[in-house]
């Protein structure tokens, strides 16, 4: 310990480490009624870090070439020591990232934390949600299996419903008329270089905005006086008399991360086939479409909407309208009330929306 203290003192006199720790950790006060749902952001940071690390490890052996991609993935899975673990962590992690993002967004909705002055938190978070779906879609193609190939064909094809430029957009996305080697190159570059940088920047923006506005108080279970933001000037929401981030809430963060890992490794070790269908184990064949090709679970509702509507354009418009509505929710729902039980219209609409999404997903799965 004396050595640790001496090193800490050495750093402290140079960069003021103790002052920083006091300001950002032990003196950073959070509302006393803060709950476990507030730790989902930390869980997501851990998931993103895991995806970056496992992705880098996969890059060591993965070959982004249409003739070699499937073989390289098979080699990673079957021959490399612990290659299966790296790939499964990456594949399961991508699914978990979307699932935890959903939970984070639902908790934000229920606790009214998207309301002013936190519109920017919501917008950066919502954009992150959309971009994470983009990184999942681009990563889906990389193993160059039948599943990857045809799911990407279906997903990119839906863009063709956009009037006038739709067909050109599809070809631009694919780098040709059909999904092929140029598509793999594009999706690989997007997946490993472009989108991760965008996600990192957006996470930075999200955290910056969170630091500037201050963390919101949960709308229930607390005795902090409710202070509505009048919207006329900048105000940092502090929590005098609150609990320190470190060690109190850091422990909650660690607990949530531990629970996440329990579920995550439960899937990796006991349900490794969950992220895959049998078509994921057959190399891509551009001349043979497998029967009943389905997208990932989080795109099933979108897929089913496209099937329900007689016109693909109408289906896309409905989805775009729904996404825009959710993205702009803080500007539509302007009432200062945040308690979910005191917002019956919101509660009915949000629960109805979630049930509709679940229903469409199940329908899409069995259709």
């Amino acid at each position: 310990m004396p050595l640790f203290k001496r090193v800490y003192d050495w750093i402290d006199v140079r960069i003021g480490a103790r002052e920083l720790v006091k300001k950002e950790l032990t003196g950073y006060l959070l509302p006393r009624n803060i709950n476990e749902w507030y730790s989902l952001g930390s869980v997501l940071l851990v998931i993103f870090a895991m995806q970056v690390v496992t992705g880098m490890l996969l890059l060591v052996y993965y070959v982004p070439d249409a003739d070699k991609a499937f073989k390289s993935v098979t080699y990673i899975m079957n021959e490399l020591p612990y290659g299966w673990l790296m790939r499964l962590c990456h594949a399961v992690g991508s699914n978990m990232m979307v699932a935890v993002l959903f939970m984070h967004m639902i908790s934000t909705l229920m606790m009214g934390s998207y309301k002013g002055p936190r519109e920017l938190n919501w917008l950066t978070g919502f954009t992150l949600f959309a971009i994470v779906q983009g990184i999942s879609l681009t990563g889906y193609l990389l193993p160059w299996s039948q599943l990857s190939f045809w799911a990407t064909t279906v997903a990119t094809n839906s863009v063709s419903a956009i009037p006038l430029i739709g067909q050109y957009l599809v070809e631009f996305l694919r780098g040709g008329k059909m999904v092929g080697p140029p598509t793999l190159g594009r999706f690989f570059a997007l997946h490993v270089a472009v989108i991760p940088v965008i996600i990192a920047l957006l996470i930075g923006a999200h955290l910056f905005v969170l630091k500037r506005t201050g963390i919101s108080s949960p709308p229930f279970g607390g005795d902090e006086p409710v202070r509505h933001w009048p919207g006329d000037s900048y105000r940092y929401q502090s929590h005098p008399g609150g609990i320190p981030f470190f060690p109190n809430f850091a422990l909650q963060d660690l607990t949530s991360i531990a629970i996440y890992f329990a579920v995550f490794f439960g899937v990796v070790f006991f349900g490794p086939d969950l992220p895959f269908t049998p078509d994921a184990f057959v190399p891509a064949d551009p001349f043979k479409t497998p029967a009943h090709i389905k997208p990932e679970w989080y795109f099933l509702a979108n897929y089913q909407i496209l099937k329900i509507f007689p016109s693909e354009l109408l289906g896309l418009t409905v989805q775009a309208a729904a996404m825009t509505f959710v993205a702009l929710l803080p500007f539509i729902d302007r009432s200062p009330e945040r308690h979910p039980l005191k917002r019956p219209l919101f509660l009915v609409c949000s629960i109805g929306g979630i049930l509709l999404w679940v229903g469409l997903t199940v329908w899409g799965h069995y259709s």
Binding site: L57, V60, L80, P81, Y82, G83, L85, M86
Partner: protein
């Protein structure tokens, strides 16, 4: 006092659990990145004598490394490691002078691997070779 003891015990448990978790994560990553164990060097390679005219050299891969076969003008067949003993560059066969030259730092070796000049500290490593019935067997 009792609390201090409990805290210390829990701290040690936490540190221990962290070390175990780190090792559990690091070991698969190490194994994943470690080079595959290749052939031990016990393999045998066979070439037809006609592939190696007099005064010529033939480079090939042997036991995961570069090797060279030389048939000198006196008719002797020699197999050597082609890795220069100085800094690991691959030596080149100079047909005119019937010797090896390392292009990195101008180390020179005779056809049987002996150092002629330059910085190499040791001769080129010899590889067992035999010639019989028109076949050259290396290893």
């Amino acid at each position: 006092m009792e609390n201090d003891g409990r805290r210390k015990f829990l701290g040690i448990c936490l540190a221990g659990a962290t070390v175990v978790a780190t090792a559990a994560a690091a070991y698969p990553v190490f194994r994943y990145l470690a080079p595959a164990s290749g052939p031990s060097g016990a393999e045998k390679l066979v070439f037809a004598s006609s592939e190696l005219p007099e005064g010529e050299a033939k480079f090939f891969e042997y036991a995961g490394s570069a090797a060279v076969l030389v048939r000198t003008k006196t008719g002797e067949t020699v197999a050597l490691s082609a890795v220069c003993t100085h800094l690991g560059c691959i030596v080149q066969w100079v047909k005119q002078s019937q010797d090896f030259l390392c292009p990195c730092h101008a180390g020179q070796f005779t056809a049987d691997g002996t150092v002629l000049s330059g910085p190499p500290p040791k001769p080129l490593a010899k590889i067992p070779v035999s010639v019989a019935e028109g076949k050259i067997t290396v290893g």
